[in-house]
Amino acid sequence: MPQHEHMERHAKLHGRRFDAEERERKKEARMVHKRSEFAQKVHGIRAKLYQKKRFKEKATMRKTIAMHNERNNKHADDDAVADGAVPAYLLDRQGVSRAKVLSNTIKQKRKEKAGKWEVPIPKVKPVADDEMFKVMRTGKKQNKAWKRVVTKCTFVGDSFTRKAPKYERFIRPSGLRMRKANVTHPELKTTFQLDILGVKKNPSSQIYTNLGVLTKGTILEVNVSELGLVTTTGKVAWGKMAQVTNNPELDGCVNAVLLV
């Protein structure tokens, strides 16, 4: 206790008031009513927030109660010992058999082949050209209108060099260029921030694919070397496909799910 713990010191020297416990009990008892009064009075965003908080509290409360009740519940005995003695030749049949592993890898292969285009987001809203491109007026009198500015996020490779302004029809603004994607591994349920290697397919149009436009449903190639995934042949895989799951131009980031 440092020198200036005034409250504790005071309680130690002079004790607490005689009805301290009673007051605390009453305060707690009244808390329920106070809370209810507030819950009934509040409205708007505060009400939403309050209800959410209260719901969480209640959920944890219910879980705790359930946990305490568990020792009273009856459970089915799952691993009942088989009756009788097991013959010796059946003893090592337990656990995973080799045949099963093999079938798993076959399944995986088939899945990879067949499910190449079976993607998490099979259907997307098509993006029209006039939504995708903004007309940029050029010329001394600003009367030429042949240049287009991409309004969505794009991926531009490292080696890209702009063409001469005379030949540059499509402009991809540097502020909207993306280099990284937050990729979720669907089985591991974890997310990694990975480098984008390229845009494989934009479902809306081939032009968008060529321009590297990132919209919802776009298939990307991402660098997974950090993850340490191994191909069936034993090599370290470093390029993998992923599909964009959000609208990057609205969120300011690219979220994707890894296609496995």
């Binding site: 440092p2 020198q3 200036h4 309004t151 502020g175 909207l176 609205l250 969120d251 300011g252």
Partner: protein, 677 residues
């Protein structure tokens, strides 16, 4: 030199609180209205401002924390080490480092998102980006939950640490638990440290202050130290070790020779030896405590030699003391203070700074002119020694508090203030003074300076007597007036007095001035009664003069000139009458005479002038009134209306106070309740 006071740190909010603070501030301090119809640049700047503002708020708050918390590398090593033991240096630095990282993360998020908003082409897109930006910043803050909670705990503890100055004059007590460190602290300071008969009552450093030689001394009470290796020491012991290691101070090592603390003298000596390296460059005193239980002289020879050996080894002094009997307490304090003071002065003198002072000093020793010794004059007024010095001597004057406890404690004993009376004779002090003598209350006759007054009165009387004697010797003063004249003078004086009083009574400044036209001119303002017709008749009759003509004349004057021509025509015939009247009127007052004279002159002038050929228009106030009756009634009403005019509110001043305002109290109530909107 920095002052170590950690009380000024602002409270650190928890992560959800911080998020609330930041978002609330953004909502309140930035504009909230935007429409899709606005120009896109305006929409963009609206949302960019929000993002920027949030980022600024967050970094402001986080920077505040970073500057508030002391940096362990910059503060005094004593505090740095104390923080290390109490809060764990690594944990502390990590927490602050994480806060710093969070700040830069938020900055970079804001930068990126603002860049994106610059390309926003619709309100919806800008809004989505803003939402994402704020959300990401808040997520960063939420991740700092643990660090923020830890920092808040640290802040609370830091702010409750005693304000200990590492560089000042310090006395430091150390020793095993229960050897009497805290009791000594309570004896010499007002620190009011908890003293209990069990080990580790004192769990942290405590600071008290005492005075010695007109200087302020910081006294530090440390927790007890056990005799084991440094690695095994716990947090409580480590605080004592840190204080010993880092503070330049005078150390009092307490040894309990009665062994009531539960440790033998042997153990206490071995602790001394093990922590001896910490005493280097410090002024050390081995304090032999609790001599009331076990006198130092009657201690076993072996033990005494052991303790004495300690002091000899460390080349320091050994003092005996008892907190209970207060034997040697002030001696120990004085010795410790003196030692430290001497070294501090030595350090000063041998230092560089002294040069600058010494150059400016010049000491003169005047040569003695004769062989007479002139010592300091110390008056022995009440023959009482200074109570502070004589701790175990006998003849100390009793304090009022001691007298109180002897006399039955507070509430029973009351101080007798009679012995403080300042009287001419001391034997009068306790004399009894009766309240009532001969049925009279003495208090009614008591006067503090009655003697002075009596003396003054006697002097005055003497003077008067002397004057009257002198007057009797000379002639009596005599007036040269007749008795009638004197009466007249008396009358004049009385009248003058009345005039003066009237003037004083009526001529107050705090009244509204009435114009003469309204007020009218009174005939004799000092005596209204004399001009009433009845009064005149009475006085004239008593004199024996016929008053009827006089009164008629008076009425005439009052009414003004008659309109008939015939009268003025017959004026010459009435000359005699006029002359007779002049005589009659001579009894009137001076002002009236003056008025009459003036009137006469005017009359003569009017007579010479030409007669009017047109009728005069009526007075404006009488215009539109039918006849004299209605004029009269109008005048009466007017008079009545003026009656309460003086300063009070008139009929024009009527005012109607409003109790219910219609527009406030009728109609539908859209916003708020009936009582409040």
């Amino acid at each position: 030199m920095p002052v170590y006071n950690f009380k000024g740190m602002k409270p650190v909010p928890t992560a959800p609180e911080l998020v609330d603070i930041v978002l609330m501030r953004t909502q309140r301090r930035t504009p909230t209205v935007v429409h899709p119809g606005y120009k896109i640049t305006r929409i963009r700047s609206f949302y960019m401002r929000k993002i920027k503002f949030t980022q600024q708020t967050i970094s402001e708050r986080l920077s505040g924390m970073l500057t508030d918390f002391p940096r362990l590398n910059d503060i005094h090593p004593f505090y740095a080490d104390l923080c290390n033991t109490l809060y764990d240096r690594d944990h502390y630095k990590l927490a602050l480092g994480q806060i710093n990282t969070a700040r830069s993360l938020v900055d970079s998020i804001a930068r990126d998102m603002i860049r994106m908003v610059k390309y926003g082409d619709s309100l919806y897109r800008c809004k989505c980006l803003k939402r994402a930006a704020l959300g990401r910043m808040c997520t960063v803050l939420k991740r700092q939950k643990a660090s923020l909670a830890y920092l808040e705990e640290v802040r609370k503890h830091l702010s409750r640490l005693p304000a200990l100055d590492p560089n000042t004059r310090t006395l430091l007590m150390c020793g095993l638990p229960n050897v009497g460190k805290s009791s000594f602290m309570n004896k010499i300071t007002r620190g009011n440290v908890d003293v209990q008969p069990y080990a580790f009552t004192t769990k942290s450093l405590f600071v008290g202050h005492c005075d010695y030689k007109y200087l302020r001394w910081q006294v530090i009470d440390t927790p007890g130290i056990l005799d084991h290796p440094l690695e095994e020491r716990n947090t409580i012991e480590m605080q004592a070790i840190i204080a010993l290691a880092h503070l330049t101070c005078s150390v009092l090592y307490f040894v309990d020779i009665s062994e009531q603390c539960g440790y033998t003298i042997d153990q206490q000596c071995s602790l001394f030896r093990s922590i001896k390296p910490l005493f280097a460059n410090k002024q050390l005193i081995v304090v032999v405590n609790k001599v009331d239980q076990q006198p130092w002289e009657s201690l076993e020879e072996a033990k005494r030699a052991m303790v004495q050996g300690l002091a000899d080894d460390a080349n320091c002094s050994l003092m005996t003391m008892s907190n209970l009997s207060e034997h040697g307490v002030s001696d120990v304090k004085a010795a410790a203070c003196d030692k430290l003071l001497a070294t501090r002065v030595d350090a000063r003198v041998s230092g560089k700074k002294i040069e600058g002072v010494m150059n400016r000093l010049q000491v003169f020793n005047p040569a003695p002119r004769d062989g007479v010794t002139r010592g300091a004059f110390i008056p022995d007024s009440d023959g009482v020694t200074d109570g502070d010095v004589d701790m175990d001597g006998g003849n100390i004057r009793k304090t009022a508090r001691e007298l109180m406890w002897e006399g039955g404690g507070p509430g029973v004993w009351a101080p007798d203030y009679r012995d403080q009376y300042d009287l001419a004779d001391d034997s009068w002090k306790f004399d009894k003074i009766p309240e009532i003598i001969d049925g009279k209350n003495i208090a009614d006759f008591v006067d503090a300076d009655i003697l002075d007054r009596l003396e003054a009165l006697e002097r005055e009387e003497e003077q008067l007597v002397a004057e009257s004697d002198a007057a009797r010797m000379g002639e009596e003063p005599e007036s040269d007036l007749e008795s009638e004249e004197e009466a007249a003078v008396e009358a004049i004086r009385a009248r003058k007095k009345i005039i003066k009083e009237k003037k004083l009574a009526t001529n107050t400044q705090n009244k509204p001035m009435l114009p003469l036209s309204i007020r009218g001119k009174s005939k004799d303002k000092h005596d209204a009664g004399t001009l009433l017709a009845t009064e005149i008749r009475k006085t004239m009759d008593s004199i024996g003069v016929d008053s009827s003509k006089m009164l008629e004349r008076g009425r005439l004057l009052e009414r003004g000139r008659k309109r008939e021509r015939s009268l003025s025509r017959s004026r010459r015939g009435a000359d005699d009458e006029d002359a007779a009247m002049d005589v009659d009127v001579s009894g009137l007052s001076k002002a009236a005479l003056k008025k009459i004279k003036k009137e006469k002159g005017e009359k003569a002038r009017r007579d010479l002038s030409q007669a009017r050929s047109h009728s005069r228009p009526r007075e404006p106030s009488q215009m539109g009134l039918k006849d004299s009756e209605s004029v009269k009634s109008a005048q009466k009403l007017d008079r009545l209306g003026r009656k309460g005019w003086m300063g009070a509110s008139g009929e024009g001043d009527t005012r109607k106070s409003v109790h219910l305002v219609k527009w406030m109290n009728t109609g539908k109530k859209r916003n708020g309740t009936h009582y409040q909107r």
